[in-house]
Symmetry: C2
Subunit: 130 residues, 2 copies
C-alpha cells in the first residue's frame, strides 16, 4: 500500500494541468478565480452568507449587471452556493462552498497585498510617468 501525502497528490494533479497552455482547462478556471470582482465577492462572504442587496452595498461601485454575472460564474464553478428562501419578497442568500472556502485564503492575500502596497505602487507610477 502506498500512502501519498496531500502535497504529492497536488503535485500529480498539477503535472496533469498547465495554465501556460491555451487549451488547458485550468486556463479557463484561472479566468474565473482571478478578476477584481471575483476577489471582492469571495472576500465579502468570508464571514458568512449575504443577501444580494447586502453584497451590492458592501462592494461599492459594482454594477448590478457585473454583480449578477460574477455571482453566476462563481456559482457555476462551485465556489459559492445560492439559497432561495420562499418568502415575500423572496430571499436569496449567497455563501462560500467548501471549494470556495479553500480558495478564500489566496484571495484575501491578494486583497491585503493591494491594500498594503498602495504607496509603493503610487511611487512606481509617478516615476514611470517621469
Amino acid at each position: 500500500m502506498t500512502t501519498r501525502t496531500a502535497a504529492q497528490r497536488r503535485d500529480e494533479a498539477r503535472a496533469e494541468f498547465e495554465s501556460f497552455l491555451a487549451e488547458c482547462p485550468s486556463r479557463d478556471i484561472l479566468q474565473t478565480i482571478t478578476g477584481k470582482w471575483t476577489c471582492l465577492v469571495l472576500a465579502s462572504l468570508a464571514d458568512g452568507s449575504m443577501r444580494y442587496n447586502a453584497l451590492a452595498r458592501h462592494i461599492a461601485g459594482i454594477s448590478p449587471r457585473m454583480l449578477t454575472q460574477t455571482l453566476r460564474a462563481l456559482e457555476r464553478d462551485g465556489l459559492i452556493s445560492r439559497e432561495v428562501t420562499m418568502a415575500v419578497p423572496v430571499e436569496v442568500r449567497y455563501s462560500l462552498t467548501e471549494l470556495g472556502s479553500g480558495l478564500l485564503g489566496v484571495v484575501l492575500q491578494l486583497k491585503t497585498w493591494a491594500e498594503t502596497h498602495v504607496e509603493a505602487v503610487r511611487a512606481a507610477r509617478t516615476s514611470y510617468q517621469e
Copy 2:
C-alpha cells in the same frame, strides 16, 4: 522607542486602505494584480528575465496586443522592469522587480489552485447545468 513588527505595520497600512470602497486607490491596484494574463506573465518570470518573444511563446494563446498591454500595466505599477539592450535587433527583456517578487508567491498559489481543482470545478459545472 517603539518597535513595530512587519505584521503591525501591515495592519496599519491595511486600516488605511479598503478595496471594498470604490474610491480607494487599492481597488485600482487590485485591478492590475488580478486578471488571468497578469497572473501568467508574473508566473512566467518566476525563474528569471525573459524576452518579449519568449513570453509570447510561453503564454500560449495570448495576443500581441494583450501581452503588450499587460506588460505595460505591470511596468507602470512597478511589478516588472523592462531592460533594453542596444543591439541589432534591439533586445528587450522583462524581469520581476522586488515588488513583483513579493507578489509572486500569491500569484503562483492562484495558478496552482486552478491546476489542482480542474476536476472539482468540472464536476460543479456539470451539476450546475443539470
